[in-house]
Symmetry: C2
Subunit: 240 residues, 2 copies
Amino acid sequence: MAIVDPSLVAHLPLFAGFSTDELGEILREARSARFARNSAVFEQGEEALSFYVLLHGHVRASKTTPAGEQVVVRYVAPGETFGVAMAIGLQRYPATATAVDDSVVLAWPSAAWPRLVAKFPALATNTLQTVGSRLQETHTRVVEMSTQQVEQRVAHALLRLAKQSGRKVEHGVEIDFPISRQDIAQMTGTTLHTVSRILSGWEQRGLVESGRQRIVLREPHKLFVLAETVPGETEPPIRP
Amino acid sequence: MAIVDPSLVAHLPLFAGFSTDELGEILREARSARFARNSAVFEQGEEALSFYVLLHGHVRASKTTPAGEQVVVRYVAPGETFGVAMAIGLQRYPATATAVDDSVVLAWPSAAWPRLVAKFPALATNTLQTVGSRLQETHTRVVEMSTQQVEQRVAHALLRLAKQSGRKVEHGVEIDFPISRQDIAQMTGTTLHTVSRILSGWEQRGLVESGRQRIVLREPHKLFVLAETVPGETEPPIRP
DNA sequence: GCCAAAGTTTGCGTTGGCGCAACGTCGACG
DNA sequence: CGTCGACGTTGCGCCAACGCAAACTTTGGC
């Protein structure tokens, strides 16, 4: 019997199109594991022994440059796969995965991937779609970094996080895991100082409410307008 | 009989692991087409009716923002696939593909993809690997844009182009297709003015030789050192 | 062979955002 | 409940790169 009830994961994109029996067979090869907040699931450069599905919590994937600078590649939300290095032809993890909250994962041995794919080709096509989506998102990020200023990039980043991992609260949408100014800086290609200044500004304008590792979007729509507004541009002129 | 001799494309990553017969069956569904320099293979937002393998020439994939700014996503070299929107779950092309040189492509109807993948699952795993590689490359680009200055990013971009599409010439390596300052600016997230200034500087130092839509790397190694050098940093200090 | 268009170069003033530094504040842990 | 460490804020000076503008060069079309 599998470690996890198939019905709990049947709806995930990775398992689209599978019968309960097939799912059971796949799940039988997985183990489940828990990672405490701030612990590493795997480290950049390590041999890619497993691939994962996140069940609960949140995981940050980040790359460290030779010079020691870190860049956040993405945040993983529950239901998403990560660490699929083997599937895309890598022997080693290209990034570090850190649990930013207490997290629970399903883990398969990477060695099982070829056999699983041989038996269940839909795994490959499903993974192709999710990797494709990530490629699109990363291209979007490149376009933003090429054409927009820091304030807009930060706005976009927060809106994306809120969409992916937002939790409705009293006065807006709160990002549902601990996130620092530094983290946001590493997502948007700037410094924590600049992020701090931007958030302070927004706070005074009532757009957000934020504190230690905590951000609430109070006016997501206004933030969206700000994110789309070309800096030099003002409101569309009203005809006299 | 197929339009293209199987032996000509058997070595491509997309077709890894296929027999000549299988390859023939796949190629039978393709048509070949020629695109003149500066003509569009497909446009961003168009319905993704085909996917392609580039046989000869060079193709630029670029995205246009709502504000009208363009960003170069990548350059496609012979042997590479492009326009695989359908495989990654898109109905429409997310970018425009332009032949930067007279080019020849193989084109399959996107509609054939599901059937081909069903019959030849290795197509999916091969594509997964190439899309995975592109994701890695794009992440590298994000990291560079986040941590490096313009001069280094331009150096990296040229070195990558030289590796992918370099042609040995008398005094170095020439990038084997027409490429403007503007193109390089759109690859590295800067302006054509800044690129022009940087290339002028390098030209005086004898690192490159360049002209109208033409760039020769005369000292690739020195360029590599420059690309890796942290701006503030000088040569490692010599002990007294 | 001439002209228009496209690509490139370069000067100059401006500025967004960085780097540094100092200080403030919250929370966890003993 | 006090202390220490991590996180956040803010002022200030600076500079890499941008934006604008003008001039120059090459090339392809007619």
